[in-house]
Symmetry: C2
């Protein structure tokens, strides 16, 4: 029997839940420096995009585009950064980060650039709600 | 009339030419620290993955998977890093980097982590040739 998918505890710890898309769980990183989504395909044991089967890869691309569009519209950001890195947490997860020319890391990538900054709880809830509605979830 | 696509001069300067896939130009970064491909969709004026039309996005995913498979097979790396960042060079380009647990940046992402290291010319030519053959180019 195939092993069931469960979210990696490090990702669960670092994020708030947005909702389940067709393939991926959508999460918001708890870092108020940048509006930052994660898409985590619900497929057990997958570390690389190329490990997904072809239909799942196409679905992941659709979800990257949908999440990108929503994040850009909700945040009015200057640039999107999209990345699957996974050197530390091996479970496949795609970062979609809304970047601004005045954010703490610009123009560098966000990883390791600035200590995470906590959200005000109301701001976190409002952002998650806006993204959820724009993704037509819940 | 639509503006023709030309490779951004910064990308041309930093890379060696591998070949043209259906959508993207495949390039090798001139940094011997890591085997590092770029895929640059030949679409003028596009900065974000979500700016590509849906068919091009699917083709880009196919080319990411093909390039990932080839890079992994040629380098026997431990991990792939796949990213579209573009904070400095606005022309859409996707990085596919072969990572090893003993490379100069591990486990951090490669951007800004270590000064580029020049290839020996013969090593550069051999790597480009191996990748070109594995991609069935030329």
């Amino acid at each position: 029997m195939a092993q069931p998918w469960t979210l990696h505890p490090q990702l669960a710890n670092d994020t708030g839940f947005i909702g389940d898309l067709t393939l991926s769980q959508a999460l918001l990183m708890r870092d108020a420096n940048y509006p930052w989504l994660l898409l985590v395909p619900r497929r057990a044991g997958v570390s690389e995009i190329v490990d997904l089967d072809p239909a799942d890869r196409v679905q992941l691309m659709t979800e990257i585009a949908d999440a990108s569009r929503v994040l850009k519209s909700v945040t009015q950001c200057d640039k999107l950064n999209v990345a699957a890195i996974g050197n530390v947490v091996p479970q496949l997860h795609v970062h979609i980060v809304a970047r601004r020319r005045d954010d703490p890391a610009w123009p560098r990538p966000v990883w390791g650039a600035a200590p995470p900054r906590a959200y005000e709880p109301a701001a976190l809830a409002a952002l998650i709600d806006a993204i959820r509605r724009a993704l037509r979830l819940g």
